[in-house]
């Protein structure tokens, strides 16, 4: 986990269940809008992650400047899907602007480390594992 994700995890993991719900809803509300440049791709169904019940579109990019690679994360989650917006929003918050190596090092049991596994239940954890896997793979491909 990078520094920002550790901050988020520390806050979430220490919170009682009701407050975790409030914190997650805050992350969901902070979910950034999809930039116009990606909307045509989203409308064409590109970037769709099929592991989720909710529609999740992910557009990871990597740019290189002065030899340093930077990850840019853009995503869209239409409709009423606060849980996916919260979890994907946390990833964007922590890793937009990070390096590909940082993304590759995101722990696969992130939800357990965030302390929200029990709140979500097993199926939703599997769904999010698909999102995380796609993110890591997409960033690794873009960085190659």
């Amino acid at each position: 986990m990078n520094t920002r994700l550790r901050e988020i995890a520390a806050e979430l993991a220490a919170a009682p269940r009701d407050f975790q719900v409030e914190l997650l809803l805050e992350h969901a509300r902070d979910f950034p809008p999809l930039p116009d440049a990606f909307q045509a791709a989203r409308d064409a169904g590109l970037g769709r992650i099929h592991e989720c019940q909710a529609e999740v579109y992910f557009f990871p990019q990597v740019t290189t400047e002065s030899g340093r690679q930077t990850v840019h994360l853009h995503a869209d989650i239409p409709g009423h899907a606060p849980t996916q917006r919260a979890l994907v929003g946390i990833l964007i918050d922590a890793y937009d602007g990070a390096t590909p190596e940082e993304v590759a090092a995101i722990p696969d049991d992130l939800l357990r480390q965030l302390g929200v596994a029990a709140l979500l239940g097993p199926q939703r954890q599997h769904g999010f594992a698909g999102v995380l896997s796609r993110l890591k793979h997409g960033v690794a491909e873009a960085a190659a």
Binding site: V21, E22, L24, L25, A28, I49, H50, E51, C52, Q53, A54, H80, A81, P82, T83, Q84, A86, A118, L119, L120, G121, P122, Q123, R124, H126, G127, A129, G130, S133, R134, H137
Partner: protein
């Protein structure tokens, strides 16, 4: 839908709006795919039941015990004679799943608000974030109906007897294409793709209108009776991937079309597609019209 086989089971958003204050006799229960949705706003006096964290055992792949179910109802202030009204997101997909579960555990008076959250919101009706608290009860379930649940051995026997089954997943899942992308594990993986031999394919959403309500009886009869040739007097089994979408179709067949004996196979494809030796049929059936839509 006034012409449903059991019309009293479906209540309208209007009816619910008029009865929200009647908490002595009625408990409104929201059940969604998304565990945080209730917290963003819900019907006044509605309580939240989550299909995973409230209704499923965290260790064993099964529902909670009868005792835990009774404790849940007690905590929500439900008595055996309380009218329960379920509603939720996704055309009441999860509401019907909770409805099925509560019926199996033995709550007698369960209803569904036609249209669910989608229709309630589309009508501009009020939502609140206030979480109600009701005096707890000492609940005992009166009418358990374990017969509405099919286990894998029931399904095997049913298949061998040529009994009708409805696979409510998407055509791609039914045909046996691998629908998940490379490098991305499916969220509920099955080692084999296809369907249970003899099952017909009617994606669950065909029973729902765009506004979240159920289709009319005529429209439903055209799909399930005329097109698929199902017979309301024949024992029928529904299944999907984990038994939730198929509870929507179970509800349609039992209450809207009046099927006498319909069971939901909650083990569904994540069990069948992983069972050693379980027969699997792939591809389009002889009657290709069965997968239309």
């Amino acid at each position: 839908m006034s012409d449903a086989a059991h019309p009293e089971i479906l209540v309208s958003t209007d009816w619910v709006a008029k009865h929200l204050a009647d908490t002595d006799r009625i408990r409104v229960i929201e059940s969604n795919e998304d565990v945080l949705l209730y917290a963003t706003g819900h019907l006044h006096n509605a309580v939240h039941v989550d299909w995973q964290t409230d209704l499923q055992d965290p260790d064993v792949r099964d529902y909670i015990s009868q005792d835990q179910f009774e404790a849940l109802c007690s905590r929500l202030g439900i008595r055996p004679d309380t009218t329960l009204v379920f509603y939720g997101d996704k055309s009441n997909w999860w509401a019907t799943y909770a409805f099925w579960t509560f019926t199996m555990f033995g709550h007698a008076d369960c209803r569904v608000m036609d249209g669910g959250r989608t229709k309630w919101e589309a009508e501009g009706r009020t939502l609140t974030t206030d979480v109600p608290a009701f005096e707890s009860t000492d609940y005992t379930a009166q009418h358990p109906e374990p017969s509405i649940r099919a286990f894998r051995d029931d399904v095997l026997a049913h298949m061998n007897a040529g009994g009708p089954m409805v696979d409510v997943r998407s055509p791609a899942e039914y045909i046996g294409e691998i629908s998940h992308a490379p490098h991305s594990p499916a969220s509920e993986p099955a080692l084999r793709a296809g369907h249970i031999p003899g099952a017909s394919n009617v994606p669950w959403g065909r029973a729902a209108n765009a506004d979240g309500t159920f289709k009319s009886r005529d429209e439903l009869e055209a799909i399930y009776l005329d097109e698929q040739g199902l017979n309301p007097s024949e024992e029928t089994i529904t299944y999907c991937r984990i038994g939730e979408r198929s509870s929507h179709t179970w509800f349609v067949l039992r209450y809207l079309l009046g099927f006498d004996n319909v069971r939901n196979y909650d083990g569904s494809w994540t069990e069948w597609g992983n069972l050693v030796g379980a027969p699997v049929e792939k591809g389009v059936p002889d009657n290709a019209s069965e997968i239309a839509g």
